[in-house]
């Protein structure tokens, strides 16, 4: 398998096999890219395997092969290939090489069988690398998406010059309150806001931990030189808060967002009149 001619021949067989495969995704990848990836991988693979080591892919010889395979698998995972579509890349090479070996060692079936087993084992290992990288990239993708959903779920809104609003909807956990606190303080610095209205109309439960976080946020807001207004405390929430013995006195309480806004306008010296 070390002559250039055979490399070309093998490449043709392999690319053909990939194109013929039912897992081909022409919509996600052009023929040219597929071919280029195949050429690159095959070259590295032959370079590594020609050194005689056909068992251990952890050695330095296989490092470029594994790195390249990880890159290819990662890219495919990101592009939206399914696991089997991604793995076909390596496994179709196995079929192609086995076909090649069969032709080569037609006369000596013993060598053929040992070589077949060796090559199968080696490519199976590379197949595992593909799966690992695929799963890892997918996990990362999911984590990134979770982060961006978290980011989007707690927007900080500039509703007037020097007034920002933080509507909190859904369940508040420590991670989210932490994020809200940091974003809120950052926004105050950015906009020079004087009043920050924290609206908890959409919060079903305010437990001790969450209230502690809100109080901490309010204290930090005050340290920056702004005021924290808490609006939208529902009757049930008010009851639990008092039963839990939480002291919300560091926040200025207002019934609704409208009341909070009115307070904020007065605070920054605005007067709202009907024309």
């Amino acid at each position: 398998m070390n002559s250039g001619l055979k490399e070309k021949e093998l490449l043709e067989i392999w690319v053909k096999a990939q194109i013929a495969s039912e897992t081909l995704r022409e919509d996600l990848m052009s023929m040219e890219d597929l071919r280029n990836e195949s050429i690159l991988f095959l070259r590295e693979f032959i370079k590594a395997s020609s050194k005689g080591n056909l068992t251990d892919i952890g050695t330095a010889d296989y490092k470029p092969v594994v790195t390249l395979l990880r890159k290819i698998s990662g890219n495919r995972a990101q592009a939206g290939f399914t696991p089997s579509e991604t793995a076909t890349f390596v496994f179709s090479l196995k079929d192609s090489i086995l076909g090649f070996l069969q032709a080569e060692y037609k006369s000596s079936p013993e060598i053929l069988s040992t070589e077949t087993i060796r090559i199968s084992k080696l490519l199976d290992k590379l197949g595992l690398v593909t799966f690992e990288e695929y799963a890892r990239t997918r996990d990362e993708l999911v984590k990134d998406q979770q982060d961006s959903i978290l980011e989007m779920s707690s927007p900080i809104i500039l509703i007037w010059e020097k007034i920002i609003a933080v509507p909190i909807i859904g369940i508040l956990d420590s991670k989210r309150t932490q994020l809200i606190m940091e974003n809120c303080l950052q926004k105050i610095i950015q906009t020079g806001a004087k009043v920050c209205i924290i609206d908890v109309t959409g919060v079903a439960v305010l437990d001790t931990l969450v209230s502690t976080h809100i109080i901490k946020t309010a204290n930090a807001i005050r340290l920056l030189g702004a005021e924290a207004v808490l609006t939208g405390i529902r009757p049930e929430v008010a009851q639990t808060v008092v039963h839990l013995g939480v002291d919300l006195s560091s926040l200025i309480p207002r019934a609704t967002m409208a009341d909070g806004l009115e307070y904020a306008f007065r605070k920054i010296g605005f007067q709202v009149n009907k024309r």
């Binding site: 940091e182 105050i188 610095i189 901490k216 930090a220 340290l223 560091s250």
Partner: protein, 128 residues
């Protein structure tokens, strides 16, 4: 030990902390500041922290002490330009600086001190 300059503008004193202050420097600043208040008869002090990313508990205590001490010498203290990271640290340390006025920047600080001054004058004239 580095000395922190105290600037006088009108009836206000401005102190800008530009580097992490060690305990000795902080104590020196405290006594320098009180000396200057008594010498100049200043009615307001602005401590500006916008260049600091970290404040330790000792510095937090010094700031609240300065505020109380200068209040007894008839000067209001305003802390300006606390960064988010500093605010979070102070809150986590349990230092709320409740007696201290806080503002976003020096400009707001001067505005607030002027307002507080006027309030005191009004109170005084009402009492007469």
């Amino acid at each position: 030990m580095q000395k922190i300059p105290i600037l006088k503008i009108g009836k206000n004193l401005i102190v800008s902390l530009q580097f992490d202050v060690d305990d000795k420097t902080a104590l020196q600043l405290q006594s320098d500041l009180l000396q200057t208040i008594s010498k100049t008869g200043a009615t307001g002090v602005i401590i500006e922290l916008s260049a600091l990313d970290m404040v330790d508990s000792f510095m937090g205590r010094i700031i609240s002490d300065i505020s109380k001490m200068s209040a007894s010498m008839n000067a209001n203290t305003v802390v300006a330009g606390i960064q988010p990271s500093v605010a979070i640290t102070l809150v986590e340390l349990g230092l709320k600086l409740e007696q201290v006025h806080t503002v976003l920047n020096i400009e707001d600080g001067i505005e607030l001190l002027t307002k507080l001054d006027r309030q005191i004058e009004n109170d005084d004239s009402e009492n007469q």
